[in-house]
Protein backbone atom coordinates (compact mmCIF):
# COMPACT_ATOMS: atom_id res chain seq x y z
CA UNK A 1 0.00 0.00 0.00
CA UNK A 2 1.50 3.28 -1.12
CA UNK A 3 1.12 6.59 0.68
CA UNK A 4 0.03 9.69 -1.21
CA UNK A 5 0.48 13.19 0.10
CA UNK A 6 -1.89 15.66 -1.56
CA UNK A 7 -0.99 19.33 -1.21
CA UNK A 8 -4.35 21.11 -1.29
CA UNK A 9 -3.67 24.44 0.37
CA UNK A 10 -5.82 27.39 -0.58
CA UNK A 11 -8.93 29.24 0.49
CA UNK A 12 -12.40 28.37 -0.64
CA UNK A 13 -13.77 24.96 -1.52
CA UNK A 14 -12.03 24.09 -4.76
CA UNK A 15 -8.69 22.74 -3.62
CA UNK A 16 -10.16 20.75 -0.75
CA UNK A 17 -12.97 19.32 -2.87
CA UNK A 18 -10.69 18.22 -5.68
CA UNK A 19 -8.31 16.61 -3.23
CA UNK A 20 -11.06 14.72 -1.43
CA UNK A 21 -12.68 13.66 -4.71
CA UNK A 22 -9.35 12.10 -5.66
CA UNK A 23 -8.36 10.94 -2.21
CA UNK A 24 -11.53 9.11 -1.22
CA UNK A 25 -11.49 6.97 -4.34
CA UNK A 26 -7.76 6.37 -4.11
CA UNK A 27 -8.11 5.41 -0.46
CA UNK A 28 -9.58 2.03 -1.36
CA UNK A 29 -6.04 0.97 -2.27
CA UNK A 30 -3.76 3.62 -0.86
CA UNK A 31 -3.02 5.60 2.23
CA UNK A 32 -3.96 9.21 1.40
CA UNK A 33 -3.06 12.30 3.42
CA UNK A 34 -4.55 15.61 2.37
CA UNK A 35 -2.72 18.72 3.50
CA UNK A 36 -5.23 21.55 3.78
CA UNK A 37 -5.74 24.94 5.39
CA UNK A 38 -9.29 25.40 4.16
CA UNK A 39 -11.59 27.03 6.69
CA UNK A 40 -14.13 24.31 5.83
CA UNK A 41 -11.80 21.39 6.46
CA UNK A 42 -12.84 20.61 10.04
CA UNK A 43 -16.51 20.53 9.14
CA UNK A 44 -15.92 18.52 5.99
CA UNK A 45 -14.01 15.99 8.04
CA UNK A 46 -17.13 15.38 10.13
CA UNK A 47 -19.18 14.92 6.95
CA UNK A 48 -16.87 12.34 5.35
CA UNK A 49 -18.63 9.30 6.85
CA UNK A 50 -21.79 10.36 5.01
CA UNK A 51 -20.24 9.73 1.62
CA UNK A 52 -17.89 6.94 2.57
CA UNK A 53 -19.42 4.18 4.59
CA UNK A 54 -16.52 1.83 4.03
CA UNK A 55 -14.43 1.77 7.21
CA UNK A 56 -11.26 1.02 5.26
CA UNK A 57 -11.63 4.16 3.15
CA UNK A 58 -12.25 6.27 6.22
CA UNK A 59 -9.24 4.73 7.85
CA UNK A 60 -6.96 5.29 4.87
CA UNK A 61 -8.01 8.87 4.20
CA UNK A 62 -6.89 11.62 6.52
CA UNK A 63 -7.04 15.38 6.46
CA UNK A 64 -3.98 17.08 7.85
CA UNK A 65 -5.42 20.46 8.75
CA UNK A 66 -2.95 23.28 9.27
CA UNK A 67 -3.80 25.70 12.06
CA UNK A 68 -4.34 29.34 11.17
CA UNK A 69 -0.89 30.93 11.37
CA UNK A 70 1.30 33.61 9.88
CA UNK A 71 2.54 33.20 6.33
CA UNK A 72 6.06 32.48 7.55
CA UNK A 73 4.86 29.92 10.06
CA UNK A 74 2.60 28.20 7.53
CA UNK A 75 5.50 28.02 5.07
CA UNK A 76 7.66 26.44 7.70
CA UNK A 77 5.02 23.90 8.72
CA UNK A 78 4.35 22.85 5.14
CA UNK A 79 8.05 22.50 4.48
CA UNK A 80 8.49 20.30 7.52
CA UNK A 81 5.66 18.02 6.38
CA UNK A 82 6.82 17.80 2.78
CA UNK A 83 10.44 17.41 3.81
CA UNK A 84 9.67 14.45 6.06
CA UNK A 85 9.43 12.27 2.92
CA UNK A 86 7.22 9.71 4.66
CA UNK A 87 5.12 9.19 1.53
CA UNK A 88 5.59 7.61 -1.89
CA UNK A 89 4.14 10.25 -4.15
CA UNK A 90 3.52 13.98 -3.83
CA UNK A 91 0.45 15.38 -5.56
CA UNK A 92 0.24 19.16 -5.65
CA UNK A 93 -3.04 20.87 -6.43
CA UNK A 94 -2.93 24.03 -8.56
CA UNK A 95 0.12 25.79 -7.07
CA UNK A 96 3.32 24.20 -8.39
CA UNK A 97 5.59 26.28 -6.16
CA UNK A 98 3.24 26.01 -3.20
CA UNK A 99 0.74 28.74 -2.41
CA UNK A 100 3.44 30.63 -0.53
CA UNK A 101 6.34 29.59 -2.75
CA UNK A 102 7.38 27.27 0.05
CA UNK A 103 7.90 24.17 -2.08
CA UNK A 104 10.69 25.82 -4.04
CA UNK A 105 13.12 25.28 -1.21
CA UNK A 106 12.02 21.68 -0.66
CA UNK A 107 12.06 20.21 -4.14
CA UNK A 108 15.83 20.13 -4.69
CA UNK A 109 15.98 17.73 -1.76
CA UNK A 110 13.09 15.53 -2.91
CA UNK A 111 14.57 14.18 -6.11
CA UNK A 112 13.61 10.58 -5.36
CA UNK A 113 9.91 11.27 -4.84
CA UNK A 114 7.61 11.41 -7.89
CA UNK A 115 5.70 14.68 -8.17
CA UNK A 116 2.36 15.17 -9.86
CA UNK A 117 0.74 18.52 -10.48
CA UNK A 118 -3.04 18.78 -10.61
CA UNK A 119 -3.17 21.52 -13.18
CA UNK A 120 -6.25 23.61 -12.65
CA UNK A 121 -6.18 26.89 -14.55
CA UNK A 122 -3.97 29.58 -13.02
CA UNK A 123 -3.52 33.20 -13.95
CA UNK A 124 -0.83 33.64 -16.65
CA UNK A 125 0.30 36.86 -14.97
CA UNK A 126 1.31 34.83 -11.95
CA UNK A 127 2.93 32.19 -14.13
CA UNK A 128 5.04 34.86 -15.72
CA UNK A 129 5.84 36.82 -12.58
CA UNK A 130 7.26 33.82 -10.77
CA UNK A 131 8.53 31.90 -13.80
CA UNK A 132 6.29 29.04 -12.75
CA UNK A 133 6.63 27.22 -16.07
CA UNK A 134 10.37 26.72 -15.69
CA UNK A 135 9.84 25.30 -12.25
CA UNK A 136 7.09 22.96 -13.41
CA UNK A 137 9.15 21.71 -16.34
CA UNK A 138 12.09 21.00 -14.09
CA UNK A 139 10.46 19.34 -11.12
CA UNK A 140 7.15 17.74 -12.05
CA UNK A 141 7.04 14.25 -13.54
CA UNK A 142 3.41 14.51 -14.60
CA UNK A 143 0.75 17.19 -14.98
CA UNK A 144 -2.82 16.00 -14.78
CA UNK A 145 -5.31 18.47 -16.26
CA UNK A 146 -8.77 17.69 -14.87
CA UNK A 147 -11.34 18.90 -17.35
CA UNK A 148 -10.03 22.23 -18.58
CA UNK A 149 -8.34 20.74 -21.63
CA UNK A 150 -5.93 22.91 -23.60
CA UNK A 151 -7.11 26.06 -21.92
CA UNK A 152 -4.49 26.11 -19.15
CA UNK A 153 -0.95 27.54 -19.12
CA UNK A 154 1.02 24.26 -19.20
CA UNK A 155 -1.33 22.25 -21.44
CA UNK A 156 1.39 21.69 -24.03
CA UNK A 157 4.12 20.51 -21.69
CA UNK A 158 5.30 17.03 -22.69
CA UNK A 159 4.38 15.57 -19.30
CA UNK A 160 0.78 16.90 -19.40
CA UNK A 161 -2.14 14.45 -19.45
CA UNK A 162 -5.82 15.39 -19.68
CA UNK A 163 -8.70 13.72 -17.89
CA UNK A 164 -12.40 14.44 -17.60
CA UNK A 165 -13.32 16.89 -14.83
CA UNK A 166 -12.94 15.52 -11.31
CA UNK A 167 -16.18 15.12 -9.43
CA UNK A 168 -16.90 14.14 -5.86
CA UNK A 169 -19.61 11.63 -6.77
CA UNK A 170 -19.79 9.20 -9.64
CA UNK A 171 -23.10 9.15 -11.49
CA UNK A 172 -24.09 5.82 -9.88
CA UNK A 173 -23.55 7.25 -6.39
CA UNK A 174 -25.91 10.16 -6.92
CA UNK A 175 -29.26 9.85 -5.11
CA UNK A 176 -32.20 9.91 -7.50
CA UNK A 177 -34.42 12.97 -7.70
CA UNK A 178 -38.18 12.75 -7.41
CA UNK A 179 -40.13 14.96 -9.82
CA UNK A 180 -41.56 18.20 -8.42
CA UNK A 181 -44.35 20.45 -9.55
CA UNK A 182 -42.45 23.67 -9.08
CA UNK A 183 -39.13 24.37 -10.72
CA UNK A 184 -36.14 24.84 -8.40
CA UNK A 185 -33.42 27.49 -8.41
CA UNK A 186 -30.29 26.72 -6.39
CA UNK A 187 -27.96 29.58 -5.51
CA UNK A 188 -24.44 28.37 -4.67
CA UNK A 189 -23.07 30.88 -2.18
CA UNK A 190 -19.39 30.73 -1.30
CA UNK A 191 -16.73 33.33 -0.78
CA UNK A 192 -15.87 36.21 1.53
CA UNK A 193 -18.25 38.33 3.64
CA UNK A 194 -18.93 40.78 0.86
CA UNK A 195 -19.83 38.00 -1.55
CA UNK A 196 -22.07 36.32 1.03
CA UNK A 197 -24.02 39.56 1.44
CA UNK A 198 -24.43 39.71 -2.33
CA UNK A 199 -25.81 36.16 -2.46
CA UNK A 200 -28.21 36.91 0.40
CA UNK A 201 -29.59 39.94 -1.41
CA UNK A 202 -29.91 37.96 -4.61
CA UNK A 203 -31.92 35.33 -2.75
CA UNK A 204 -34.29 38.06 -1.52
CA UNK A 205 -34.78 39.35 -5.07
CA UNK A 206 -35.35 35.87 -6.48
CA UNK A 207 -38.10 35.25 -3.90
CA UNK A 208 -39.88 38.44 -4.97
CA UNK A 209 -39.48 37.76 -8.67
CA UNK A 210 -40.33 34.05 -8.67
CA UNK A 211 -43.04 33.38 -6.08
CA UNK A 212 -43.98 30.10 -7.78
CA UNK A 213 -40.46 28.72 -7.83
CA UNK A 214 -38.60 26.84 -5.09
CA UNK A 215 -35.45 28.80 -4.20
CA UNK A 216 -32.64 27.28 -2.15
CA UNK A 217 -29.27 28.63 -1.12
CA UNK A 218 -26.46 26.11 -0.81
CA UNK A 219 -23.88 27.55 1.58
CA UNK A 220 -21.73 26.75 4.57
CA UNK A 221 -23.27 29.64 6.55
CA UNK A 222 -26.61 31.30 5.97
CA UNK A 223 -25.98 34.51 4.02
CA UNK A 224 -27.32 37.77 5.50
CA UNK A 225 -30.90 38.54 4.29
CA UNK A 226 -31.44 34.93 3.21
CA UNK A 227 -34.43 33.38 5.02
CA UNK A 228 -32.86 30.63 7.14
CA UNK A 229 -35.41 27.99 6.11
CA UNK A 230 -34.20 28.31 2.49
CA UNK A 231 -30.59 27.78 3.45
CA UNK A 232 -29.11 24.32 2.80
CA UNK A 233 -25.88 23.37 4.52
CA UNK A 234 -24.83 20.19 2.80
CA UNK A 235 -21.59 18.68 1.63
CA UNK A 236 -20.94 17.42 -0.96
CA UNK A 237 -23.19 19.74 -2.90
CA UNK A 238 -23.86 17.64 -5.99
CA UNK A 239 -27.10 16.00 -4.75
CA UNK A 240 -28.49 19.48 -4.02
CA UNK A 241 -27.47 20.80 -7.43
CA UNK A 242 -29.07 17.76 -9.00
CA UNK A 243 -32.47 18.95 -7.77
CA UNK A 244 -32.14 22.28 -9.56
CA UNK A 245 -33.66 23.42 -12.81
CA UNK A 246 -31.32 26.42 -12.81
CA UNK A 247 -28.17 27.07 -10.79
CA UNK A 248 -26.77 30.52 -9.98
CA UNK A 249 -23.26 30.79 -8.59
CA UNK A 250 -19.70 31.90 -9.18
CA UNK A 251 -17.47 30.42 -11.85
CA UNK A 252 -15.14 28.41 -9.66
CA UNK A 253 -13.99 24.96 -10.69
CA UNK A 254 -16.46 22.84 -8.73
CA UNK A 255 -19.59 24.88 -9.42
CA UNK A 256 -18.86 24.93 -13.14
CA UNK A 257 -17.96 21.29 -13.64
CA UNK A 258 -20.57 19.85 -11.28
CA UNK A 259 -23.29 21.74 -13.18
CA UNK A 260 -21.82 20.66 -16.47
CA UNK A 261 -21.79 16.99 -15.45
CA UNK A 262 -25.33 17.16 -14.14
CA UNK A 263 -26.54 19.01 -17.23
CA UNK A 264 -27.74 22.00 -15.21
CA UNK A 265 -27.73 25.48 -16.75
CA UNK A 266 -25.37 27.68 -14.71
CA UNK A 267 -25.71 31.45 -14.46
CA UNK A 268 -22.36 32.73 -13.23
CA UNK A 269 -21.00 35.85 -11.62
CA UNK A 270 -17.24 35.82 -12.13
CA UNK A 271 -15.57 36.85 -8.87
CA UNK A 272 -12.04 38.22 -8.86
CA UNK A 273 -9.51 35.78 -7.43
CA UNK A 274 -5.77 36.21 -7.14
CA UNK A 275 -4.87 33.05 -9.06
CA UNK A 276 -8.07 31.70 -10.55
CA UNK A 277 -9.65 33.19 -13.68
CA UNK A 278 -13.37 32.79 -13.09
CA UNK A 279 -14.17 35.12 -15.97
CA UNK A 280 -12.16 32.93 -18.30
CA UNK A 281 -13.77 29.69 -17.10
CA UNK A 282 -17.26 31.20 -17.04
CA UNK A 283 -17.01 32.39 -20.63
CA UNK A 284 -16.52 28.87 -21.76
CA UNK A 285 -18.65 26.79 -19.43
CA UNK A 286 -21.42 29.01 -18.04
CA UNK A 287 -23.77 31.91 -18.80
CA UNK A 288 -21.83 34.86 -17.44
CA UNK A 289 -23.80 37.77 -16.03
CA UNK A 290 -22.74 40.95 -14.30
CA UNK A 291 -25.81 42.24 -12.47
CA UNK A 292 -28.60 40.62 -10.43
CA UNK A 293 -31.15 41.99 -12.90
CA UNK A 294 -29.51 40.25 -15.84
CA UNK A 295 -29.36 37.06 -13.76
CA UNK A 296 -33.09 37.31 -13.05
CA UNK A 297 -33.86 37.94 -16.73
CA UNK A 298 -31.78 34.92 -17.65
CA UNK A 299 -33.61 32.76 -15.10
CA UNK A 300 -36.92 33.93 -16.59
CA UNK A 301 -35.98 32.89 -20.09
CA UNK A 302 -34.58 29.56 -18.91
CA UNK A 303 -37.77 28.77 -17.00
CA UNK A 304 -39.87 29.45 -20.08
CA UNK A 305 -38.46 26.44 -21.86
CA UNK A 306 -40.19 23.14 -21.03
CA UNK A 307 -38.80 21.47 -17.90
CA UNK A 308 -36.65 18.42 -18.39
CA UNK A 309 -37.18 16.19 -15.38
CA UNK A 310 -35.39 13.12 -16.60
CA UNK A 311 -32.64 11.65 -14.49
CA UNK A 312 -29.38 13.32 -15.46
CA UNK A 313 -27.37 11.39 -17.97
CA UNK A 314 -24.62 9.05 -16.96
CA UNK A 315 -21.75 11.51 -16.78
CA UNK A 316 -18.10 10.52 -16.63
CA UNK A 317 -15.63 11.29 -13.84
CA UNK A 318 -11.92 11.87 -14.44
CA UNK A 319 -10.93 10.53 -11.03
CA UNK A 320 -10.54 6.90 -12.15
CA UNK A 321 -8.10 7.79 -14.91
CA UNK A 322 -6.22 10.14 -12.64
CA UNK A 323 -5.67 7.38 -10.09
CA UNK A 324 -4.25 5.07 -12.76
CA UNK A 325 -1.94 7.82 -14.02
CA UNK A 326 -0.67 8.59 -10.53
CA UNK A 327 -0.13 4.91 -9.71
CA UNK A 328 2.26 4.53 -12.65
CA UNK A 329 4.41 7.34 -11.25
CA UNK A 330 5.98 5.30 -8.51
CA UNK A 331 5.33 1.74 -9.72
CA UNK A 332 7.64 2.41 -12.68
CA UNK A 333 10.50 3.61 -10.54
Amino acid sequence: MATWLIYALGGGWGHLNRAIALGRQAATHHQVRILTNSPYAHWVETQLPQIDFSPSVLQNLSLQILPLASVAETRHQVQAIVQAQNYDCLIVDTFPRGLGGELVDCFPLLSSIPKVLIHRDIDPAYVQAKQVGKFVAHYYDTLVIPGEGDDVPFAYFPQAVQTLPWLMLNAQALPSVSPTEQPTIVVVAAGNQEEMAFWGQLMARLLTNFPAVTCRCLAYTCPPHCPPHLWVQEWPGMPVLNQADVVIGGAGYNTVFECQALGKPLISFAWPRQYDRQQHRGQRWAKLVETPQVAIDTVKSLLQTPRDQRESQNYGNGIGDAISIIETQYSQR
Binding site: G10, V71, T74, Q77, A80, L99, G101, A129, Q131, Y275
Partner: protein, 255 residues
Protein backbone atom coordinates in the same frame (compact mmCIF):
# COMPACT_ATOMS: atom_id res chain seq x y z
CA UNK B 1 41.35 37.58 5.60
CA UNK B 2 42.30 33.99 6.15
CA UNK B 3 41.06 31.30 3.85
CA UNK B 4 41.27 27.55 3.97
CA UNK B 5 41.59 25.19 1.04
CA UNK B 6 40.80 21.52 1.56
CA UNK B 7 41.57 18.86 -1.00
CA UNK B 8 42.57 15.25 -1.38
CA UNK B 9 45.60 14.48 -3.49
CA UNK B 10 44.34 12.06 -6.15
CA UNK B 11 47.80 10.46 -6.35
CA UNK B 12 48.49 9.80 -2.68
CA UNK B 13 45.02 10.04 -1.15
CA UNK B 14 46.42 12.45 1.41
CA UNK B 15 44.13 15.23 2.66
CA UNK B 16 45.46 18.79 2.78
CA UNK B 17 43.83 21.62 4.75
CA UNK B 18 46.15 24.62 4.74
CA UNK B 19 44.95 27.98 6.08
CA UNK B 20 46.35 30.78 4.01
CA UNK B 21 46.45 34.52 3.55
CA UNK B 22 45.63 35.47 -0.07
CA UNK B 23 47.08 35.92 -2.60
CA UNK B 24 47.40 32.18 -3.19
CA UNK B 25 48.73 30.67 -6.40
CA UNK B 26 47.79 27.22 -7.68
CA UNK B 27 49.94 25.43 -10.22
CA UNK B 28 52.14 22.49 -11.10
CA UNK B 29 55.49 24.24 -10.70
CA UNK B 30 56.55 26.00 -7.51
CA UNK B 31 59.22 27.97 -9.31
CA UNK B 32 57.03 29.13 -12.15
CA UNK B 33 54.36 30.55 -9.85
CA UNK B 34 54.90 34.19 -8.80
CA UNK B 35 56.45 34.73 -5.36
CA UNK B 36 54.81 38.13 -5.01
CA UNK B 37 51.69 39.77 -6.40
CA UNK B 38 50.91 43.47 -6.01
CA UNK B 39 53.80 43.62 -3.57
CA UNK B 40 52.28 40.92 -1.36
CA UNK B 41 53.85 37.55 -0.70
CA UNK B 42 52.08 34.75 -2.56
CA UNK B 43 51.36 31.39 -0.97
CA UNK B 44 52.15 28.85 -3.66
CA UNK B 45 50.36 25.51 -3.74
CA UNK B 46 51.73 22.78 -5.95
CA UNK B 47 49.14 20.54 -7.58
CA UNK B 48 51.01 17.79 -9.35
CA UNK B 49 49.20 16.63 -12.46
CA UNK B 50 49.74 16.89 -16.21
CA UNK B 51 46.48 18.76 -16.76
CA UNK B 52 47.46 21.48 -14.27
CA UNK B 53 49.38 24.39 -15.77
CA UNK B 54 52.67 25.47 -14.28
CA UNK B 55 50.91 28.59 -12.98
CA UNK B 56 47.26 27.77 -13.22
CA UNK B 57 45.29 30.20 -11.09
CA UNK B 58 45.56 32.95 -8.52
CA UNK B 59 43.28 33.62 -5.55
CA UNK B 60 43.36 37.28 -4.54
CA UNK B 61 41.34 39.74 -2.49
CA UNK B 62 39.52 42.46 -4.38
CA UNK B 63 37.30 44.85 -2.45
CA UNK B 64 36.86 42.46 0.40
CA UNK B 65 36.07 39.36 -1.65
CA UNK B 66 38.26 36.50 -2.73
CA UNK B 67 38.47 36.13 -6.50
CA UNK B 68 39.75 33.26 -8.53
CA UNK B 69 41.65 34.38 -11.63
CA UNK B 70 42.52 31.52 -13.84
CA UNK B 71 45.19 31.32 -16.53
CA UNK B 72 43.76 28.02 -17.76
CA UNK B 73 40.57 25.97 -17.44
CA UNK B 74 39.18 26.07 -13.91
CA UNK B 75 35.74 25.46 -12.56
CA UNK B 76 33.81 26.92 -9.65
CA UNK B 77 31.01 24.60 -8.57
CA UNK B 78 31.14 22.82 -11.89
CA UNK B 79 31.03 25.99 -14.00
CA UNK B 80 34.04 26.79 -16.16
CA UNK B 81 35.34 30.26 -15.41
CA UNK B 82 38.29 32.47 -16.14
CA UNK B 83 37.52 34.51 -13.08
CA UNK B 84 34.89 34.63 -10.41
CA UNK B 85 34.13 35.49 -6.81
CA UNK B 86 34.55 32.66 -4.34
CA UNK B 87 31.98 31.99 -1.68
CA UNK B 88 32.34 29.97 1.43
CA UNK B 89 31.93 26.30 0.55
CA UNK B 90 32.65 26.71 -3.16
CA UNK B 91 34.36 23.86 -5.00
CA UNK B 92 37.27 24.82 -7.19
CA UNK B 93 38.29 22.32 -9.84
CA UNK B 94 41.83 22.55 -11.21
CA UNK B 95 42.77 19.56 -13.33
CA UNK B 96 41.98 16.47 -11.28
CA UNK B 97 42.05 18.43 -8.00
CA UNK B 98 38.89 19.54 -6.29
CA UNK B 99 39.55 22.12 -3.61
CA UNK B 100 36.90 23.29 -1.18
CA UNK B 101 37.19 26.95 -0.37
CA UNK B 102 36.22 28.33 3.03
CA UNK B 103 36.79 31.61 4.82
CA UNK B 104 38.51 31.64 8.22
CA UNK B 105 38.50 34.67 10.45
CA UNK B 106 39.54 35.54 13.99
CA UNK B 107 39.73 32.07 15.36
CA UNK B 108 39.83 32.45 19.07
CA UNK B 109 42.02 30.27 21.17
CA UNK B 110 39.39 28.47 23.21
CA UNK B 111 37.97 26.97 20.07
CA UNK B 112 41.18 25.69 18.59
CA UNK B 113 40.58 22.17 19.75
CA UNK B 114 37.44 22.08 17.65
CA UNK B 115 39.36 23.28 14.64
CA UNK B 116 40.79 19.86 14.03
CA UNK B 117 37.54 18.04 14.39
CA UNK B 118 35.65 20.34 12.10
CA UNK B 119 37.36 21.12 8.82
CA UNK B 120 35.60 24.39 8.24
CA UNK B 121 36.18 27.47 10.28
CA UNK B 122 34.10 30.45 11.12
CA UNK B 123 33.56 34.03 10.24
CA UNK B 124 33.52 36.76 12.75
CA UNK B 125 30.28 38.24 11.61
CA UNK B 126 30.73 41.54 13.35
CA UNK B 127 33.81 42.50 11.42
CA UNK B 128 33.29 41.08 7.97
CA UNK B 129 31.92 43.41 5.36
CA UNK B 130 29.31 42.00 3.03
CA UNK B 131 31.01 42.02 -0.29
CA UNK B 132 31.02 40.00 -3.41
CA UNK B 133 28.82 37.04 -2.96
CA UNK B 134 27.94 37.41 0.65
CA UNK B 135 30.55 36.69 3.21
CA UNK B 136 29.34 33.47 4.49
CA UNK B 137 28.56 32.77 8.02
CA UNK B 138 30.81 29.81 8.24
CA UNK B 139 30.11 26.49 9.77
CA UNK B 140 30.32 27.08 13.42
CA UNK B 141 29.74 23.93 15.38
CA UNK B 142 26.35 24.26 16.98
CA UNK B 143 27.71 23.40 20.38
CA UNK B 144 29.82 26.54 20.43
CA UNK B 145 26.88 28.87 20.02
CA UNK B 146 28.01 30.85 23.02
CA UNK B 147 30.91 32.19 21.02
CA UNK B 148 28.42 34.29 19.11
CA UNK B 149 27.23 35.93 22.27
CA UNK B 150 24.26 33.68 22.77
CA UNK B 151 23.37 32.44 26.15
CA UNK B 152 25.35 29.39 26.99
CA UNK B 153 23.72 26.09 26.14
CA UNK B 154 21.37 27.44 23.48
CA UNK B 155 21.76 25.32 20.41
CA UNK B 156 21.78 26.97 16.99
CA UNK B 157 21.97 25.27 13.64
CA UNK B 158 25.40 25.68 12.10
CA UNK B 159 24.68 24.56 8.54
CA UNK B 160 25.19 26.73 5.53
CA UNK B 161 21.99 27.70 3.76
CA UNK B 162 20.75 30.36 1.38
CA UNK B 163 20.63 30.67 -2.34
CA UNK B 164 21.97 33.98 -3.54
CA UNK B 165 23.50 34.97 -0.27
CA UNK B 166 24.98 32.21 1.77
CA UNK B 167 24.54 32.37 5.49
CA UNK B 168 24.33 30.21 8.52
CA UNK B 169 20.98 28.55 9.22
CA UNK B 170 20.99 29.84 12.79
CA UNK B 171 17.63 28.37 13.73
CA UNK B 172 17.39 27.34 17.33
CA UNK B 173 15.74 24.10 16.25
CA UNK B 174 16.54 22.21 13.09
CA UNK B 175 13.39 20.17 13.36
CA UNK B 176 11.60 20.34 10.05
CA UNK B 177 14.06 22.82 8.62
CA UNK B 178 14.22 22.26 4.85
CA UNK B 179 17.15 24.57 4.39
CA UNK B 180 19.56 22.44 6.30
CA UNK B 181 17.57 19.22 5.89
CA UNK B 182 16.78 18.86 9.57
CA UNK B 183 20.33 19.82 10.49
CA UNK B 184 21.51 16.65 8.77
CA UNK B 185 23.05 18.25 5.70
CA UNK B 186 26.79 17.88 5.50
CA UNK B 187 28.77 20.85 6.69
CA UNK B 188 30.12 21.56 3.24
CA UNK B 189 27.00 20.60 1.33
CA UNK B 190 25.16 23.33 -0.50
CA UNK B 191 21.43 22.54 -0.56
CA UNK B 192 21.10 24.50 -3.79
CA UNK B 193 23.84 22.82 -5.75
CA UNK B 194 21.29 21.37 -8.18
CA UNK B 195 19.88 24.79 -8.93
CA UNK B 196 22.93 26.64 -10.13
CA UNK B 197 22.63 25.10 -13.57
CA UNK B 198 19.26 26.80 -13.91
CA UNK B 199 20.88 30.20 -13.42
CA UNK B 200 23.55 30.98 -15.98
CA UNK B 201 26.41 33.01 -14.49
CA UNK B 202 25.26 32.31 -10.99
CA UNK B 203 27.44 34.19 -8.55
CA UNK B 204 28.47 36.88 -10.97
CA UNK B 205 27.53 40.26 -9.60
CA UNK B 206 29.04 42.63 -12.07
CA UNK B 207 26.84 45.01 -14.08
CA UNK B 208 25.28 43.22 -17.01
CA UNK B 209 24.73 40.00 -15.11
CA UNK B 210 21.35 39.17 -13.71
CA UNK B 211 22.82 38.92 -10.23
CA UNK B 212 23.94 42.55 -10.29
CA UNK B 213 20.66 44.07 -9.17
CA UNK B 214 20.10 41.53 -6.44
CA UNK B 215 23.49 42.32 -5.06
CA UNK B 216 23.10 46.07 -5.44
CA UNK B 217 19.74 45.96 -3.65
CA UNK B 218 20.80 43.49 -0.99
CA UNK B 219 20.12 45.94 1.81
CA UNK B 220 16.40 45.60 1.12
CA UNK B 221 16.32 41.85 1.56
CA UNK B 222 15.92 41.74 5.31
CA UNK B 223 19.59 42.58 5.58
CA UNK B 224 20.76 42.42 9.14
CA UNK B 225 23.52 44.98 9.57
CA UNK B 226 24.73 43.43 12.78
CA UNK B 227 25.10 39.88 11.61
CA UNK B 228 25.66 40.76 7.95
CA UNK B 229 23.17 38.06 7.19
CA UNK B 230 20.88 38.38 4.24
CA UNK B 231 17.72 36.40 4.66
CA UNK B 232 17.26 35.52 1.06
CA UNK B 233 16.47 32.22 -0.57
CA UNK B 234 15.22 31.31 -3.99
CA UNK B 235 11.69 31.26 -2.68
CA UNK B 236 12.08 34.93 -1.95
CA UNK B 237 13.99 35.76 -5.07
CA UNK B 238 11.17 36.20 -7.50
CA UNK B 239 9.52 38.67 -5.17
CA UNK B 240 12.06 41.24 -6.20
CA UNK B 241 11.69 40.85 -9.91
CA UNK B 242 8.87 43.33 -10.48
CA UNK B 243 7.26 45.56 -7.97
CA UNK B 244 3.80 44.58 -9.17
CA UNK B 245 4.56 40.92 -8.56
CA UNK B 246 5.22 41.20 -4.86
CA UNK B 247 1.63 40.37 -3.95
CA UNK B 248 1.94 36.83 -5.16
CA UNK B 249 2.66 34.00 -2.75
CA UNK B 250 1.91 36.12 0.29
CA UNK B 251 -1.55 34.83 1.15
CA UNK B 252 -2.34 31.28 2.11
CA UNK B 253 -6.06 31.99 1.91
CA UNK B 254 -6.01 32.75 -1.81
CA UNK B 255 -7.34 30.39 -4.41
Amino acid sequence: MQIQLVWTDPNSGKIYKPQLQPPVALGRSFNLMPGTHASQAVSRIVLDADTVQAFHALLEIRQGSVWLCSQADSQINGVTVTEGVLTHGDRIQVGPFELTFTVVLDVIEEEEEIQDAVPAARVNQGKTPLAGLAQVAAELPGQTAKALGRSSGEWVCDRTIGFLFKRRCDRTTALGCPYCNNGQSKLDQDPYWLDYDLYPNFGSYRPGNWGYEYYRDRAYYCYNRESRNVDFTEADAASFEEESDTDYEMNFGAS
